[in-house]
């Protein structure tokens, strides 16, 4: 499955995940308080970090900020109306700097590395009954179930198209759900037959 990790290798890929995530936490907390020239500096720093990955990386990074545009437009219009555009600029700069760095961390950290870190962090939960191997298995199951459900959806949509000229829409939600519930039961039986889930 496609992940959000950038295929363009950068120096940041080599930094351990926990260092990047720790720095990100500190950064996000700082962003809530920064003002004026310091905030401008922070935005410049994030831009410089993203640019250090090269042109292709930078373009991809800009693309990942796209979901923020509606909020940016909203905040800008809101404060344009109130006549305090500086407040809008501050809100947008804080948001952009925080989300920008977080996206950069996501883009430079392999999924496997983050999952390994999560497994390590979840180890104390073993005492509460959540074994690490069960966690790992459930992650794998989710990732596998997504294409299985899409396949069931496509199959049932084709069966519908054979019978009706209309688009299937919500009508096939139930059959898809029932088919995948049966799939889940069969996977559970298969797991038990192979010695259980740990």
């Amino acid at each position: 499955m496609l992940t959000l990790t950038s295929p363009v290798r950068t120096w940041a890929h080599r930094v351990p995940a926990w260092v990047k995530l720790g720095a990100l936490c500190a950064w996000t907390l700082a962003m809530m308080r920064l003002e004026g020239i310091w905030l401008a500096g922070a935005v410049a720093l994030v831009l410089a970090l993203a640019a250090s990955g090269g042109r292709v990386f930078f373009a991809h990074w800009l693309g990942m900020l796209r979901p923020l545009w509606p909020f940016v437009a909203l905040v800008a219009l809101w404060h344009l109306w109130l006549g305090d555009l500086w407040v809008a600029l501050r809100v947008i700069a804080r948001l952009g700097a925080a989300v920008g760095l977080a996206n950069a961390v996501t883009m430079t950290t392999e999924l496997a590395e983050i999952l390994a870190l999560l497994t390590r962090l979840a180890r104390p939960l073993a005492r509460l009954g959540l074994k690490p191997q069960v966690l790992a298995l459930s992650v794998a199951l989710v990732i596998r179930f997504v294409p299985v459900m899409l396949l069931r959806y496509a199959q049932i949509a084709m069966a519908f198209a054979a019978r009706s000229p209309r688009r299937p829409g919500w009508r096939i939600l139930m059959p898809v759900l029932l088919a995948t519930l049966d799939d889940a039961d069969r996977v559970a039986e298969a797991l038990r037959a192979r010695g259980g889930a740990g």
Binding site: M64, A98, V139, I143
Partner: protein
């Protein structure tokens, strides 16, 4: 044990798929990103504890960088952006929705509707609105105003969640773990 595990994983995957399936057009012209329907269903079908775990699993995978949120979004950036409150509220929304179905022993469709509204709308907005207020520099009433356009769609999704839960109760009673 194995059955709980596969059903939790299945419903976590269902949330992702509901964000991927392009359109479930209910009223023409109203595009419904059905992802919060998945959150409601996790609670009403799996029950409080399992529903919570399924949604946590989904949210963790989004945070880890899988593009599972509607529109192919994912990564830690979402957790510091305007929708952070909603993401953090997702598991609690499912928990409350599940709790209502488990405890309120009326006909399952009715309980599921109440659970979906209370959890999937009430609890979710209680997390989402402060999240928007904090990240967008707005007061709570202003942020609440920003959330209201989604209310109509979410009410439709709550009704849909109740219908689906009811249908599962009839077609696969064993799969309705919230009433097992």
């Amino acid at each position: 044990m194995e059955r709980n595990l596969t059903h939790i994983a299945l419903f976590a995957a269902l949330i992702a798929v509901l964000g991927l399936i392009p359109k479930i057009d209910l009223i023409s012209g109203v595009p419904i990103t059905a992802q919060s329907l998945g959150i409601m269903l996790c609670g009403t079908v799996l029950g409080a504890k399992r529903g919570f775990l399924a949604v946590v699993l989904f949210v963790v995978l989004v945070a880890a960088g899988l593009p599972l949120l509607s529109g192919g979004r994912g990564g830690i950036g979402l957790f510091v952006g305007p929708s952070a409150g909603y993401l953090i509220g997702f598991p609690f929304a499912a928990y409350v929705a599940g709790l209502v179905v488990e405890r309120w022993q009326v006909q399952v469709g009715v309980a599921a509707l109440a659970g979906a509204v209370l959890g999937g709308i009430g609890v979710l907005y209680a997390f989402g609105i402060p999240g928007m207020a904090l990240t967008l520099g707005k007061s709570l009433p202003e942020a609440a105003l920003l959330a209201t356009p989604f209310l109509a769609g979410d009410l439709i999704k709550a009704v849909l969640a109740a219908l689906v839960t009811q249908a599962i109760a009839q077609a696969r009673p064993g799969a309705l773990l919230s009433r097992a």
